[in-house]
Each structure stands twice: as structure tokens, then as C-alpha cells.
């Protein structure tokens, strides 16, 4: 059985017939070929698959594709728009907030959510805000610096 799904991803509309069991992350990656979103686990721990659904961060492995029918999704590929990098992407780059890069798309999307809810977080708030996203390379310290840096640039320099 297949069911129709119509979904907007990064501003473009896609209509596909999918199996009801298909996870949103697999729709994004395997059906639509947007491979920036990663799969790092099978129990919704790692956060590598984090995307924005109608502007709110969600782990796209916890959501069926059919549940996203009619919704608007932003993935890492669509974060920046046409004019260069999003401030978070710049900050991750500037602060060496990534090494192997596999967790990075999810980490950036989760950081986006963190700053949406709390535009000027303390280090402690950043650490708690990102506890649902695993990184094995960086020890998180430069990720914290990156998010703080992005918050500073978004709020006009507040540290």
C-alpha cells in the first residue's frame, strides 16, 4: 500500500506516494535525495537527523513521512538561503565546531532551535539544550563556543 504525501522541503514542494511505514528521514534522504540529513542511530538518541518542521526542530526519525504531509520542512541544505552561510554555519566553521562532520547538520539544526527558544543562552543552557545530539569528535566544547558565537552575532554581539 502506498499513500500520497505532499511536503514542502526548503521551499520546494514534493509529492510522492510512499509506504505508510516510511520515516520522514528516509523520505528526505532516500526518496528525495537530500542527503545532508544524517542517520546515526535507530533509537532516536543521536539527533543526527534533526530538521525543522514548520520551523520547530524535530528528529526526523521519530516522524513518519505521512505525518509530515502538508507541512514545511527545512533541512541543512535549506538553512542558508541563497546568500551564503547561515550565522550558525559560519560560527561552526569559525569556532572549529566540527571534525568528521557527521553530526553537524543535526547539531546545527538543534542549535537553531536552541537559539529560537533562547536567543542569548549561557554556556550551561547551550550544553543542556544540545544534550539530545551526540558528537563523538569534538567533546562539544567548540560546539558550545560556536553556538555562543552565533548567538552573539544574531543578537548584535551579546556574549
Amino acid at each position: 500500500m502506498r499513500v500520497p504525501v505532499s511536503i514542502t522541503i526548503n521551499g520546494r514542494q514534493y509529492s510522492r506516494d510512499v509506504e505508510p511505514r516510511l520515516l520522514l528521514v528516509h523520505l528526505i534522504r532516500d526518496v528525495l535525495g537530500l542527503t545532508g540529513t544524517k542517520v546515526g542511530c535507530d533509537t532516536s538518541q543521536c539527533g543526527s537527523c534533526t530538521v525543522l518542521i514548520d520551523g520547530v526542530a524535530a528528529k526526523s526519525c521519530t516522524c513518519l513521512a505521512v505525518q509530515a504531509d502538508g507541512l514545511s520542512v527545512t533541512t541543512i541544505e535549506g538553512l542558508a538561503g541563497d546568500d551564503g552561510l547561515h550565522p550558525l554555519q559560519e560560527s561552526f566553521w569559525n569556532k572549529h565546531g566540527l571534525q568528521c562532520g557527521y553530526c553537524t547538520p543535526g547539531m546545527i539544526m538543534a542549535s537553531h532551535e536552541l537559539l529560537r527558544c533562547n536567543p542569548d543562552p549561557s554556556d550551561d543552557e547551550i550544553r543542556h539544550g544540545l544534550e539530545g545530539n551526540f558528537c563523538r569528535c569534538t567533546g562539544y566544547q567548540n560546539i558550545v563556543r560556536a553556538v555562543r558565537d552565533a548567538a552573539g552575532s544574531a543578537t548584535g554581539g551579546a556574549q
Binding site: 540529513t37 542517520v39 542511530c41 535507530d42 541543512i76 561552526f92 546545527i108 558528537c135 569534538t138 558550545v144
Partner: protein
């Protein structure tokens, strides 16, 4: 941009593709006509396979093929062990890619399904009916060595994979008999799961008409994969291309070439179409190699004034059900030879027993043998300090190898390259404010609070290593590295390297080496790696060797370029080569820098070759194969400060201060990142992580839900400092930094927790130091008192 780029913390050239989601990892690749493979894995740790019925699976929708062990006869051989440890009675059990008659760990492959979609493969796996006869299992290495233990391999007595010894220096028995004090400890270096964030994957594409196969693989060492796949699957090496595209971390778990890799190759070869296999995280936990798993009985002999006179140890190392690619060298060569640590120890003896157990094979995991050695030594030194009532820093100082800058022999047979261990500790104690910390601790104790300060001083063997040594220690490969530097007519540079970084940033640091040597901007250098078709032979990225060995190869290749460019420049300036000078990308006659030729000028002339000196070949390109004369030995001193809540047993890591010496730093920001990540992995071992099997061999920590990976919370900001002691034998003086943090930090945190608990009478807690374990240890100590 100038030579000053060497040593500056420029942004990584890798990052734009990684932060925008445009990097390509193995699982991101889709080929026309590609099929998907999934492995059926044994749910039992030890079971005879009586029968496998694949008929229903074969008929399931989308299924193209189902294979069992017998189907691979004559097609793919067993997964090889490639470290044939000499003088150890090494026994290698056949690691059939698909188990034939017996499954020996939860995760051992018993069948493979190939289908049109990944979901169809999983559906079909459920339809395979395997009739198992359960057998008794053994999971702990010391129990595996015991009489009456279940036996894994009929031809291997006592489950013993090897018995390796290291003996060095004076008479060890005499050292212990004549010692004033002896301290002893039993340590369990628990099993760890590496958890590279990218699960392992393979995509094989075989063309029957040409007999050529391309394999995309999540590997740290594509050339080794090519070599082993050619041996196991019978595809000639010249027809085999292995590509490590973007690789999402490894930490040792992507060194081995695995059964699933060979099976994917087999499936593609058999079916003549591309076949992709990607493990799930749960599969990764079951079947991608684990780390550590030692039981260590250790003792240290010393004089009453704290001078060490001998170290003796027996280690039971769990190897898992089969020997993985490099496994035998990890708990032996990379462990036992490092038992002198940073100390002058006149007599050392260690026995290491490698044991088969009904568990996932154990391999290299960040640090690989050296964290286990450092922990032993650093724990013993702390115990000695406690026994003698001395400060742990002082005991270390009394035993440090004095500062040396060109070689120091230790009794295990190694020659360390350079070091100033006291210098690192002195800097650490200053940066951390050690005396104040001790004062704070004393105050806290008066208030009934338990603050602890832990030290760990370490040296590691890195930059593996001289190939002659590799041969002598049974490593079935070389350990040199290679680099090609190619100038294009426009002055832009491609660097092709044999090593295969996967997150460590060498696309940037190697561009900085070229910038430093040849005066071009790092932006004009593209570093190419990971594809056996367009890179020279290399032996991979592990053992903190890529910069230490590959970086040396690159620097020497760059110097060859410089030498040739000098000859061409002299010709163009109508001068003798002896009269020429080079500075910062420019070649000129001594005293006349205003009239110079840039490296870009020379690159253009060499490529068009209109006016070359007599006898000089066209082109500006150089290749170097660099075999290091010795290993490199980075070192450092780390300090952890913790507070333990005696009511709950919970440990709060309050401060972590590190001083590391990896020689001159090509990019200090990248060095710092390596230190951060390494330290946190070691903290994970001390406080949180453990791969747990029950007594039947079921993996209880089978998902990320059950295995405690360090998270962003619960960690302090790490304070990173360094000293700089060049390696005397490396062209750039650099050592290595990838593993340092992990090697040091487990012992530092552990020592801090035990230091905190000293007033409560606790001297030992099994890792990880979870609140429950700490609390129980406190209760037990109270009962004893």
C-alpha cells in the same frame, strides 16, 4: 599568504561542504540499478547452526538473492587477521564471513539478503528460519582462560589466542623481593563501544565485462582494504578501486576490514550490479569492533623514598570471538612496550593472555593499548604515593625520565625521541593552581565535602612507524606513507596522500605544510585522499600517524619541489644554483631579492617547459615515500578535579586541565579540537561508558539508549595548554595528537575520584564510576571500618 601560515589556526578547508550538508558519505551514494544488502545476525552468543531455511525469504517481494555460508565457498575466504604477533603461540580461528556451522557471538553473520529496497531486505530477514542448538558461552577474558570454560574453537586449546610477554631491564623477582614497598591492584578496563557517529557502510560495484570492482567503504585505510579485498575476494589489486569518501569518524573501529564488507563485494560480484550495505546503529554495537576489555593484575615495587624499582603485570585481554584485522598487536605491542611510561623503571615484566570470548571482536579504539598502559602505571604511581604518604606529583617527579632531546632508551626496548616530562607537569601544576586546589580540598574535607584532584602523566607511541619494525612485530604491512605534490601551470597545487583522514583536518594542515615549505597560500592547495585510484599507496590513518608520517612525506616532497624550482630559477636568472636563495615562495640571487622568481613563475615555466635548464625534466611534481626512522612519542600531563557526593555517589567533574606536547603545532586550533575530543572519550570511559554482556553473551548495551556516550552536559570547559618539544627525527619536528587526550584522561579522572574518596577508605572502584558503583564502594568501605 606566507610561510607564517604554518602554525596559525586558520579555518578548516573541509568545513564548507560539511556545514552545508553537501559532503558525500558512503550511504549518500546511489548508483543506477543498485540493490541493497542486509545481514542476518546470530541472536545467540554461541550456537550450532543446524539448518537455515531461506526459501520463504527468497520468494519475498523485491528479493534478488539470499546467501548462506556454503554459498561463499571458494568465493570469499575468511576475514583475515593481519597482525601475526611473533613468539606468542598465536592461534587464528577462521573468521568466516558468513558463519558456516557455528555462531560465536551475538552479531555473527549467518545469512545475507539482497533486495531492491532496504525495507524489503529487512522484511525478508524476518522470513529466514534458522535452527540453532544453543551452546554455553563465555564473555569475560579471565573466565575464558579458566579450566572448564566453554570452548569457542575446537582446534584452539583453552580459548587462548596468544600469550605474549615483555621482559626488560633487571631481574624482576629480585626487584620485588628487595623492595621496601609493593603496591598491587586489579583493574578492569571495561569494554567500550567506539561509536563513530557514521555507521559503517559498503557499496560495491562490479563490472563483469572488465572484472573491475569499485568499493566505497567507511574506512580509515582504503589501501589496506584494497589489499585485503583482493586477497579475500580474488579480485586483482589493479582491478580494484577502494574509495573512502567522507568518513564520519573512526576511532579505530574503521581500521578492520569486516565480514560485511567482503560479503557486499561478494554479492556485487555474484550479481553483477552495485550492492550497498549500511549497518544500523544496533548492528554497529553488535558487530563493529569494540575496544579495551582487559583484566589487569598489576604491582609496583619501590624504595621507601618513592623510587620505583620494578613493575610486574598479568593481563587477560578479551579478543572477542575472532581476531579482527589488527587485534593481536593492540594489547601487546601498543600496550606492553609502553609500561615504562614517563618513568625510569629499571625492571618490567608483563604477561598478556589474549583470549577468545563469545563477544564482538575487540580491536583498536582511540589510544589502542596505550590508555590501558597509562592507566596501569598512573594508578600504581598514585597507590605508591598514598602508601608512602607522599604527594602524587612528588612521586612522579622522583621517577621521571630526565629531560632529553635526542633519544632515551627504556627497558621495554623502545627509544623515546624527546621529552621533558617534568616540564609538562610543572606547567600543569602552575596552570591548574595545584597548591590552591590541595588547600581547597583540605578545607572541603573539614566541611564533609569530598573534592579530589587527579594527575595523569603520559607518553604515547605514535607515528607508526618504521616498516622494518612493523615486519619484526608481525604487522602484515608497511607503515610508511607517501605524498605527491603537483604544481599546475597556474601555480595551484594538488597534494595526493596515501593516508586517509576522516575528521582530523589534514586537508587544512597539509595545505599549511605546503604553504610553510613553498610559500603558496593554503587556499591554492587541494589535498586529495581516500581514493586508491588517484592517491599513492598509504597505510592509513590510525595510531596518530597521519601527520607524523604522512606529514613528513609531504614536507620532503615539498622540499624536492623547492630544490628543482631552485635549479629552474637559477637558470632563468642566469645564476649559479649555489648563488641562489629561497625565501617565502621566492627564489633570487643572494643579495638581489628585488629580482626574483616566484614559485608560481617556476610552476608555469616547468609546465610549459619553453626554457628549461639542460637535463631538467618538465613538470613541477614530486613524490616521496617516507619510512620513519623511529616512532614519535608525544607526552603530557593532565589534571582533573572532581567533587563526589558521598550520599548519592555521583561525581561532578569540576575542572580539567591539560598540558600536551606534540611538538610544533601546524594548526593550534585543530590540535586543541583533537585534545578536547580525545579527553572527553577518556572521561567517558572513567565515568559513563561500558559495553555490557550478560553471562549468556547477550549484549545488554545494544543501542544508544543503553550505552552512555558523553553528552554536551556534564562536562566542564577543558583548559588546554601545551609545551613544544620537537621530535629530533621528523622533518617538521611534529609528533601526533589524535589519541593523546584519551590516553591521559581516564587515569586523571579516576585518580581524582579515588583521591576524593580517600577519607572514606575507598581505594578502588570498578569503572565506569557510576553513582551506584561509587555509592556501593563507599558503603562497603564503611562496613569494613
Amino acid at each position: 599568504m606566507s610561510a607564517s601560515t604554518f602554525g596559525s589556526g586558520i579555518r578548516r578547508r573541509e568545513d564548507p561542504r560539511l556545514i552545508t550538508g553537501t559532503a558525500t558519505y558512503t550511504d549518500d551514494i546511489v548508483l543506477p540499478g543498485m540493490l541493497h544488502a542486509a545481514m542476518l545476525r546470530s541472536p545467540f552468543a554461541h550456537a550450532r547452526i543446524r539448518n537455515i531455511d531461506t526459501s520463504a525469504a527468497a520468494e519475498a517481494p523485491g528479493v534478488v538473492a539470499v546467501y548462506i555460508g556454503a554459498d561463499t565457498d571458494g568465493e570469499i575466504g575468511p576475514a583475515p587477521c593481519a597482525w601475526l604477533l611473533p613468539d606468542s603461540g598465536l592461534t587464528i580461528a577462521d573468521y568466516h564471513c558468513i558463519a558456516k556451522d557455528t555462531a560465536r557471538y551475538v552479531g555473527d553473520i549467518v545469512a545475507v539478503v539482497v533486495a531492491e529496497s532496504i525495507h524489503q531486505t529487512y522484511d525478508a530477514l524476518d522470513l529466514i528460519d534458522v535452527d540453532y542448538d544453543m551452546l554455553d558461552a563465555v564473555v569475560e577474558p579471565k573466565q575464558s582462560a579458566a579450566e572448564g570454560a566453554p570452548q569457542l574453537h575446537a582446534e584452539i586449546e583453552g580459548n587462548q589466542a596468544f600469550h605474549w610477554t615483555v621482559t626488560g631491564g633487571g631481574d624482576i623477582t629480585e626487584a620485588f623481593e628487595s623492595a621496601d614497598v609493593v603496591v598491587k591492584e586489579t583493574i578492569v578496563q571495561q569494554r567500550l563501544i567506539p561509536n563513530a557517529m557514521e555507521p559503517r557502510a559498503a557499496l560495491a560495484s562490479y563490472t563483469k565485462a572488465t572484472g573491475e570492482l569499485t568499493l566505497w567503504n567507511t574506512t580509515q585505510n582504503p589501501h589496506i582494504v584494497r589489499f585485503l579485498v583482493s586477497l579475500v575476494a580474488g579480485i586483482p589489486e589493479d582491478r580494484l578501486r577502494v574509495i573512502a569518501p567522507e568518513v564520519g569518524g573512526g576511532f579505530g573501529s574503521k581500521i578492520a576490514v569486516y565480514p560485511a564488507d567482503f560479503i557486499t563485494v561478494f554479492c556485487s560480484k555474484k550479481l553483477g550490479v552495485p550492492v550497498k550495505w549500511v549497518e544500523t546503529r544496533s548492528e554497529n554495537y553488535q558487530a563493529t569492533t569494540h575496544g579495551r576489555d582487559h583484566v589487569q593484575e598489576i604491582e609496583l615495587a619501590a624504595t621507601s623514598d618513592g623510587k620505583i624499582v620494578g613493575l610486574r603485570a598479568t593481563v587477560w585481554a578479551g579478543m572477542g570471538a575472532y581476531l579482527s584485522t589488527a587485534a593481536p598487536g593492540i594489547p601487546t605491542i601498543l600496550h606492553g612496550l609502553m609500561l615504562s611510561g614517563v618513568y625510569d623503571i629499571p625492571a618490567i615484566h608483563e604477561d598478556v593472555y589474549g583470549l577468545y570470548t563469545n563477544t564482538t571482536p575487540v580491536e583498536a579504539y582511540r589510544g589502542a593499548g596505550r590508555p590501558e598502559a597509562t592507566f596501569m602505571v598512573e594508578r600504581l604511581v598514585d597507590l605508591l604515593a598514598t602508601k608512602l604518604g607522599m604527594d602524587p606529583a612528588e612521586v612522579r617527579r622522583r621517577n621521571f625520565i630526565p629531560k632529553f632531546d635526542d633519544g632515551h632508551d627504556v627497558v621495554t626496548g623502545l627509544t623515546y625521541d624527546s621529552g621533558d616530562y617534568d616540564g609538562a607537569l610543572t606547567k600543569l601544576l602552575g596552570e591548574a593552581g595545584y597548591d590552591q586546589l590541595r588547600a581547597e580540598q583540605a578545607e572541603a574535607r573539614k566541611e564533609g565535602r569530598y573534592i579530589g584532584v587527579g594527575l595523569s602523566t603520559y607518553v604515547e607511541i605514535c607515528g607508526l612507524g618504521p616498516s622494518q619494525v612493523a615486519g619484526a612485530i608481525g604487522f602484515q604491512g608497511g607503515l610508511w606513507e607517501s605524498a605527491i605534490v603537483r604544481f599546475h601551470p597556474s601555480g595551484k597545487v594538488n597534494v595526493m596522500i596515501g593516508a586517509s583522514p576522516h575528521g582530523q583536518g589534514e586537508e587544512t594542515t597539509f595545505a599549511q605544510i605546503i604553504a610553510g615549505e613553498l610559500g603558496v597560500s593554503p587556499d591554492d592547495v587541494k589535498v586529495i585522499h581516500g581514493d586508491t585510484e588517484n592517491t599513492p599507496m598509504g597505510w592509513g590513518t590510525y595510531g596518530s600517524r597521519t601527520t607524523a608520517v604522512g606529514g613528513a612525506a609531504l614536507a620532503l616532497a615539498a622540499r624536492k619541489i623547492r630544490d628543482k624550482a631552485m635549479v629552474i630559477a637559477a637558470h632563468l636568472l642566469e645564476a649559479a644554483v649555489e648563488d641562489m636563495e629561497y625565501e617565502d615562495g621566492k627564489f633570487f640571487v643572494k643579495g638581489s631579492p628585488e629580482s626574483s622568481k616566484t614559485i608560481q613563475d617556476i610552476a608555469l615555466m616547468a609546465n610549459v617547459a619553453w626554457n628549461m635548464p639542460e637535463g631538467v625534466e618538465a613538470g613541477l611534481e614530486a613524490t616521496t615515500f617516507y619510512d620513519p626512522p623511529n616512532f614519535v612519542f608525544p607526552y603530557g600531563a593532565h589534571l582533573a578535579k572532581v567533587e563526589v557526593d558521598a550520599e548519592t555517589g555521583s561525581v561532578t567533574l569540576q575542572r580539567y586541565v591539560a598540558v600536551d606536547d606534540c611538538g610544533p603545532q601546524i594548526n593550534p586550533v585543530i590540535v586543541e579540537g583533537q585534545v578536547h575530543g580525545g579527553i572527553v572519550q577518556g572521561i567517558g570511559q572513567a565515568l559513563w561508558e561500558e559495553g555490557v554482556y550478560d553471562e549468556d553473551g547477550q549484549l545488554l548495551t545494544g543501542t544508544m539508549l543503553d550505552y552512555a556516550i558523553p553528552r554536551a552536559d556534564g562536562l566542564p570547559d577543558i583548559e588546554v595548554h601545551s609545551t613544544v618539544t620537537p621530535s629530533p627525527h621528523h622533518p617538521l619536528g611534529v609528533k601526533g595528537i589524535g589519541e593523546a587526550g584519551t590516553i591521559a584522561s581516564t587515569a586523571a579522572v579516576y585518580n581524582a575520584v579515588i583521591d576524593a574518596l580517600q577519607p572514606l577508605g575507598v581505594s578502588s572502584v570498578r569503572m565506569p564510576l557510576t553513582p551506584e558503583r561509587v555509592w556501593r564502594s563507599i558503603q562497603a568501605a564503611e562496613e569494613d571500618n
